[in-house]
Assembly symmetry: C2
Homo-oligomer: 135 residues x 2
DNA sequence: AATAAACCTATTGATATAGTAGGAAGGCGT
DNA sequence: ACGCCTTCCTACTATATCAATAGGTTTATT
């Protein structure tokens, strides 16, 4: 189940994409529009800034702003960034130690296939697609 | 992320399917073969029995047994039974109260599509497919 | 009667989630 | 220079879920 962190992140990105013309957007505005606690959003935006998904400017007239065009943001990237790996089982996470039962595991292929499907889906859609519904 | 409950359940079902000729299989045998704690497996098998996925027989010579042919078990059913809904977000679970922002929600369609893909994948594979690799 | 097995209720420790609190640092307008 | 606004940073907390454990009761077979 995808947690609020990734869902909120996505909603923030959409919000910013819809207000690119307005320059820097304060966190307060986003939080109000989206009905999310300011303090909690702060944590989420912190990671997005750290990963250069968006930039923040402090002080009066400051706020947040996208660093790329909406079409350049992959939905899968945003989710993985805030949520961690989307792997359906722990043995398929990037940092998982190789499973000793790997060769005999009948379910491994199932999870791998589902992992692939998931990846293909979320990496085939951009923020622009999401907003325009072209997917 | 799919939890151990559903993953263990699947492994138990596979184990039982591979030993259908041996009559009732004691929990201890399954736990030993799969390397899972007996006590924890008990909890999982309890739900599977309650939902008629398999039947248990008490007493000496007892154990667990499938109630259908492996081809009659849908993987998605087994997962949902042990894990609860596979919905990617809480607002898409069967018992979710209708979201007030439903009409404006830009991400709703994304989650619905992914939910559909997930459903199609796991409901298109049976226990028999899983064992034979025919999927 | 002894034994072996499923069945049942309750408890625990660890971890993740969602959110809160308070302040420090930086940039802007007057 | 000063005050204001806003991001940035560290730490804390309550709640829920996950994974597992413990101990006992019932049922069937030999």
């Amino acid at each position: 189940m995808i947690s609020t962190k990734a869902r909120y992140a996505l909603r923030v990105m959409i919000d910013l994409a819809q207000h690119t013309a307005d320059g820097y957007i304060p966190l307060k505005d986003i939080a109000n529009r989206q009905g999310i606690s300011e303090k909690y959003l702060e944590i989420i935006l912190k990671t997005l800034v750290k990963e250069r998904m968006l930039k923040g400017l402090r002080g009066k007239g400051g706020g947040y702003m996208l660093t790329r065009a909406p079409g350049e943001y992959i939905i899968g990237e945003i989710i993985e960034l805030t949520e961690g790996s989307m792997a359906p089982v722990s043995c398929l996470t990037p940092d998982a130690e190789p499973c000793p039962k790997k060769e005999d595991c009948i379910t491994l292929r199932l999870w791998q296939k589902y992992d692939q499907i998931t990846h293909d889906f979320f990496y085939g859609i951009t923020l622009e697609d999401l907003i325009n519904g072209t997917y």
